[in-house]
C-alpha cells in the first residue's frame, strides 16, 4: 500500500564521534525519568537551524513547540542565549550554556540538495557532560518541511526520555461548524499540532467517530450518507470509500484490530439493543462477540489483539467490561461511583482510558486492565472520547465549552493539559500511529 506522503529518506545517525576537548570522563548523560510522578521540565536550549533562510528558524520553532507542549521540557527563551552558534557541527562553548542552565542544547542546519530536497540535521548536546548525545540527518521534499521538524523533535524526546516520541503523527477528527441545532460535521485530518488541516468529507451528511487503521492509510467511521447510519472504510489518499458489512440496521462505534485485518463495531438489533461484532475485512465474515439484551458498544482491542474492552449497560448503568477477542469470559472491570464509557486500550497495553460521568461532571481517566488503580486526569462540565498518543503517554479528547467542542490533550500525570488549535469546533479525535 502506498504511503500517504512520499516517504522521508532517513540517514542513520551520523557517527561523528565528536566530543569536546577536555571532556570529563564517565559523566552520566542528562536524562529525564518520565515514570516519576512529578517531572520537572528539563531546561533545553534550541537554537535556530543555520541556513535555509526562514526555514531554519521555522524548524527550530516547531521543535520548540513540540517539546514544550509535552510538558517534559522547558525551552529557554532565545534572548537569554549567550553564544551565537555559527557552526552547528562544532562543539559549542558549554560554559555559555551551563550559565543559563541549559542542560541540553540543540544545534542544527538546513539546506537544499541539488535535486531540490531539503536536508536537515541536528545535534543534541549534553552541556554539563560536555558531550554530543546524538546527531542525525534527514532528507525531505518541500511538502514535508514540518514533518522533518517533528521527526527531529521525536528524536530528541526519545534520546532524553527513553520513550518513543509522538510528534510525527496525525489526528483524524470531526470538524464542526454552524449552529448547535444544525451543526455541519466534516471528516478532517491534521498534524498532531493542528497544522495542515485537510477535509475528507463535504459535510452534507453527519459523520462521526473516525478511527485510524494501524497502517495509517485508512480510517473507519460512521456516516449517515445512505440514510441509515453505517460504518464505512475510507482510503485517505484516494478518497475511495466502502461500506463495512451489509447489516440490516445501524452499525456504529467502529475500530480496527491491531493487525488492521478486522473492524470491530456495534450492530443495532431489532429489539433496540446493540451487540458487538467483528468483521474480517478480507473474508468479509462476521463474528458476533456479545449477545445481550443491553447496549454493548465502544469496543477496543488490546494491542496484542487477544482481548476487547467495551461499554455495556447490562448491569443497569453503563460500565466497562473486558472479554476475549472471541467473546469469551465477559467480565466487568469498572466499579467506581458513576457511569463509564468510551474505553480505549493503551497502545502499551498497560492501561485503559475512559470517560466517566459522576457528580454532574465528565471525567477523563485511566485504569489498569483489571479495573484497579483508577486515576482521573481531567474533569469538566462536558468532555469525552479519549484517544492515545502512540507512545501511551498522552491522551487527546474533546471538551465542550463556549458553544462547542474543542480538542484537548493531557499527559498521564494529569498536570499538563494543552488545547489543540483548530479553526472550527472539533470532536472525536483519533491519534495515528507514528508515521513512516
Amino acid at each position: 500500500m502506498k504511503s500517504i506522503l512520499k516517504p522521508l529518506l532517513m540517514v542513520a545517525a551520523m557517527a561523528m564521534g565528536m566530543t569536546a576537548a577536555g571532556t570529563l570522563p564517565a559523566l552520566a548523560l542528562v536524562e529525564l525519568n518520565v515514570n516519576k510522578g512529578n517531572v520537572e521540565p528539563l531546561p533545553i536550549a534550541i537554537t535556530d537551524f543555520q541556513g535555509g533562510d526562514a526555514l531554519g528558524a521555522q524548524i527550530s520553532e516547531i521543535v520548540t513547540a513540540d517539546l514544550k507542549r509535552s510538558g517534559l521540557f522547558a525551552p529557554i527563551d532565545k534572548s537569554a542565549f549567550i553564544e551565537k552558534i555559527s557552526n552547528p557541527d562544532a562543539a559549542p562553548r558549554f560554559d555559555d550554556w551551563k550559565v543559563i542552565n541549559a542542560q541540553a542544547l540543540v544545534t542544527g542546519s538546513v539546506g537544499k540538495e541539488a535535486d531540490g530536497r531539503i536536508r536537515a540535521q541536528y545535534r543534541l548536546w549534553d552541556t554539563f557532560a560536555g558531550q554530543q548525545m546524538s546527531g542525525e540527518q534527514f532528507f525531505a521534499n518541500d511538502a514535508n518541511q514540518r514533518r522533518v521538524a517533528h521527526i527531529i523533535a521525536d528524536a530528541i524526546y526519545e534520546r532524553l526520555t527513553g520513550e518513543k516520541g509522538y510528534f510525527d503523527t496525525r489526528v483524524v477528527f470531526i470538524d464542526e461548524s454552524g449552529a448547535k441545532n444544525a451543526r455541519k460535521k466534516r471528516l478532517a485530518i491534521m498534524d498532531q499540532d493542528g497544522a495542515n488541516v485537510r477535509y475528507l468529507s463535504d459535510g452534507k451528511s453527519i459523520v462521526l467517530t473516525p478511527r485510524f487503521s494501524p497502517n495509517r492509510q485508512e480510517i473507519t467511521y460512521m456516516s449517515y450518507e445512505s440514510g441509515q447510519p453505517r460504518v464505512y472504510l475510507l482510503q485517505i489518499e484516494t478518497g475511495q470509500r466502502e461500506l463495512v458489512g451489509n447489516f440490516p440496521g445501524m452499525t456504529f462505534a467502529p475500530r480496527f484490530s491491531p493487525d488492521g485485518q478486522k473492524v470491530i463495531m456495534s450492530l443495532l438489533r431489532d429489539d433496540g439493543n446493540s451487540n458487538i461484532f467483528a468483521m474480517d475485512l478480507r473474508s468479509r465474515s462476521t463474528t458476533r462477540l456479545t449477545n445481550s439484551t443491553a447496549i454493548d458498544t465502544s469496543p477496543s482491542y488490546s494491542p496484542d489483539g487477544s482481548q476487547v474492552v467495551f461499554t455495556s449497560d447490562r448491569g443497569g448503568r453503563a460500565q466497562i467490561y473486558v472479554m476475549g477477542a472471541d467473546g469469551s469470559g465477559q467480565n466487568r472491570i469498572s466499579f467506581g461511583d458513576g457511569v463509564y464509557s468510551t474505553p480505549v486500550w493503551s497502545p502499551r497495553g498497560d492501561l485503559i482510558a475512559f470517560t466517566k460521568q459522576t457528580g454532574g461532571e465528565f471525567q477523563i481517566g485511566v485504569m489498569k486492565t483489571d479495573g484497579s488503580g483508577e486515576r482521573i486526569l481531567s474533569s469538566g462540565f462536558q468532555q469525552e472520547g479519549p484517544t492515545w498518543a502512540p507512545n501511551g503517554r498522552v491522551l487527546m479528547f474533546f471538551r465542550d465549552s463556549a458553544g462547542g467542542p474543542k480538542l484537548v490533550s493531557v499527559d498521564l500525570t494529569g498536570r499538563n493539559e494543552q488545547s489543540i488549535p483548530t479553526t472550527n469546533f472539533a470532536s472525536d479525535p483519533a491519534w495515528s500511529p507514528l508515521l513512516e
Partner: protein, 168 residues
C-alpha cells in the same frame, strides 16, 4: 528553572463557564404538545395532513434521563398517534430516536436507537402495522434545544414520529 504553570488546567475557569452556560438559558417547562412547541393554528390543518398530525396529535414524546421507558404522558401522545396513523394509512413512518448531550456519543447513538424501538413497539401494540414503521437514531447529534441545562436536555431526550414524504 522554567515551570509551565500557566499551562496547567484551571478548574475554576471550567466551573465558571458551566455557570454562565446555565445562567444564559431561561428555564422552560418541557413542551409536550403542539401549543408548547409554538405550533399555532390548531384546527387550521387539513384533517389527515402531516400538519394535522404535528399540530393536533403531537409528533414527539419525551424520556427521562438515560431511560427508554414510555412515560404516562408519552403513552397518551402515542395512543393518539396510533389512532391517527390507523385512520390515515397512506403514510410510511420513520421514528427518530434522540438523546440529550449528557452521555457519550456512541452510547447515545445506542440509547436513541433504543428509544426509537420502544416507541415503535408501543405503536405496534396499538395496532399500527410494523411494516409501515422504520427507526433511526440520531444520538445527541440533532438537538432541538441548545442551552446547557436541564430544561433543554429534557426536550432533547425525545422520539419524533415523522411521516415520510410529508416532513415533520
Amino acid at each position: 528553572m522554567g515551570r509551565i504553570a500557566a499551562l496547567t488546567r484551571n478548574p475554576v475557569m471550567i466551573a465558571l463557564v458551566a455557570m454562565l452556560a446555565i445562567a444564559g438559558c431561561a428555564s422552560k417547562k418541557t413542551p409536550n404538545n403542539a401549543a408548547d412547541l409554538g405550533l399555532n393554528g390548531a384546527g387550521a390543518a387539513t384533517p389527515g395532513s402531516a400538519k394535522d398530525f404535528t399540530v393536533n396529535i403531537g409528533d414527539r414524546i419525551f424520556f427521562d434521563t438515560d431511560s427508554t421507558s414510555i412515560r404516562a404522558d408519552a403513552q397518551t401522545t402515542l395512543s393518539r398517534q396510533a389512532q391517527w396513523l390507523n385512520q390515515y394509512k397512506q403514510y410510511a413512518i420513520v421514528i427518530e430516536g434522540h438523546a440529550d448531550e449528557r452521555g457519550t456519543r456512541e452510547y447515545n447513538l445506542a440509547l436513541g436507537a433504543r428509544r426509537a424501538a420502544a416507541t415503535r413497539d408501543f405503536l405496534v401494540a396499538k395496532g399500527v402495522s410494523a411494516s409501515r414503521l422504520k427507526t433511526i437514531s440520531y444520538g445527541k447529534e440533532r438537538p432541538v434545544a441548545v442551552c446547557d441545562d436541564i430544561s433543554c436536555w429534557s426536550q432533547n431526550r425525545r422520539a419524533v414520529t415523522t411521516l415520510s414524504g410529508a416532513g415533520s
